[in-house]
């Protein structure tokens, strides 16, 4: 079966077509069909917002950077009590509120800049799904460490799991951040 690499993932063309079609239906990426010719929208945001919405992207990248920084600041130990976990993870958990909002905005105002951006949007969606999954995983892990009545051995295992999940979340956050910056390098000079 014919396939293509997007990032580190191998997709069949059927998958890519379906994803593009879904993107088009939900995000108005492909706004007009003329026979078998698809007309892409002009450079801008897929929801019809003007193209000058860099603050959404900037804010999303800023929040992702901050989230990664907060995660790196956590140096957990297997001996930590539930209370210690609650305190130490507070800045991270409070930042998650902003990250979730920014990611939701980002996906709501999906930036589309031209006909070549279909693959980029696919990658963005993939990174978005991954980061949501990783945040959920890390949240679940934190809940166990903060509220679960677990044995010292289980606590030690959960701490290891937290470290692994933190690393995974850091990777997908960096991936999403880089996707945005690579596609819109001008953002870094807008401050």
């Amino acid at each position: 079966m014919a396939s293509a690499m997007i990032g580190s993932n191998l997709y069949s063309f059927t998958t890519i077509y379906c994803a593009l079609d879904r993107t088009a239906r939900h995000g108005n990426l492909m706004s007009e069909h003329q026979g078998n010719v698809v007309t892409f929208p002009a450079r801008g945001w897929t929801d019809g917002h003007p193209s000058s919405r860099p603050e959404v992207l900037l804010s999303a990248v800023g929040h992702l950077d901050e989230l990664s920084r907060r995660l790196e600041q956590l140096s957990p130990h297997a001996s930590w009590t539930a209370r210690r976990w609650m305190i130490a993870s507070t800045p991270f958990r409070m930042r998650l509120v902003g990250v979730r909002s920014r990611l939701a905005e980002l996906m709501l105002y999906r930036p589309a800049t031209g006909p070549d951006d279909g693959y980029w949007l696919l990658e963005l969606e993939e990174a978005f799904r991954k980061i949501q999954r990783r945040i959920h995983d890390l949240d679940a892990c934190l809940l166990t460490l903060q509220y679960g009545e677990i044995s010292p051995a289980d606590r030690s295992r959960e701490t290891e799991a937290f470290l692994a999940r933190r690393s995974e979340l850091g990777e997908v956050a960096t991936r999403l951040r880089n996707l945005i910056i690579q596609r819109f390098p001008e953002l870094t000079s807008r401050r």
Partner: protein
């Protein structure tokens, strides 16, 4: 610190004077954090210092309980309500609201520990003041009493440290998000 409605007076006054009420609330929160931090630091440095601040219930400047209650009231009056000046930043306000129950739990633990330690401390001092000639075997009793006193003090200090740590950690949300 608060007026009759439980609202910090300085926030009310400066808000009416035209200053940014959000900045004022942030300043009040930082001030409460610094005050609590300084108190806890002194007690960690010399645990017996806790005795004075635990017993100074009526001295609002010195009382650790007044500092804990004042901090809790500040959040109740200026942060959580729907008309809070912090609501201008939806993410920050929402983040604080999500921490409300957890923070209240730390607050309850701190107050309970304070109440418990105050009773033990008062009883310990009463026993110490009771004039009685020392007899053989009294040293073990004194040692046991002291151990109970110190254990309770450590537990109280730990609960206060957790309360302050939780509050301080919550204020980290005010750090600006860096742009790329």
């Amino acid at each position: 610190m608060t007026d009759s409605q439980g609202r910090p007076s300085r926030v009310r006054d400066t808000a009416s004077a035209g200053a940014d009420p959000g900045d004022q609330v942030r300043a009040e929160l930082q001030e409460a954090d610094e005050r609590l931090s300084a108190m806890i630091y002194r007690c960690q440095e010399r645990p017996s210092a806790l005795d004075d601040v635990v017993l100074a219930i009526d001295d609002t400047d010195k009382s650790v309980e007044a500092a804990v209650v004042g901090t809790f009231r500040l959040l109740q009056a200026c942060v959580y309500p729907v008309d809070s000046p912090l609501r201008a930043d939806r993410d920050v306000w929402q983040a604080f609201r999500e921490q409300r129950e957890e923070f209240a739990d730390f607050y309850r633990s701190a107050l309970t520990a304070l109440e418990s330690y105050r009773e033990v401390l008062e009883a310990y001092r009463t026993v110490k003041r009771t004039p009685a000639p020392l007899r053989r075997g009294d040293l073990e009793r004194i040692q046991r009493d002291k151990h109970v006193h110190v254990r309770e003090r450590d537990a109280c200090l730990a609960a206060l440290r957790d309360f302050q740590g939780k509050f301080s950690a919550m204020l980290a949300v005010f750090c600006p998000v860096p742009l790329p």
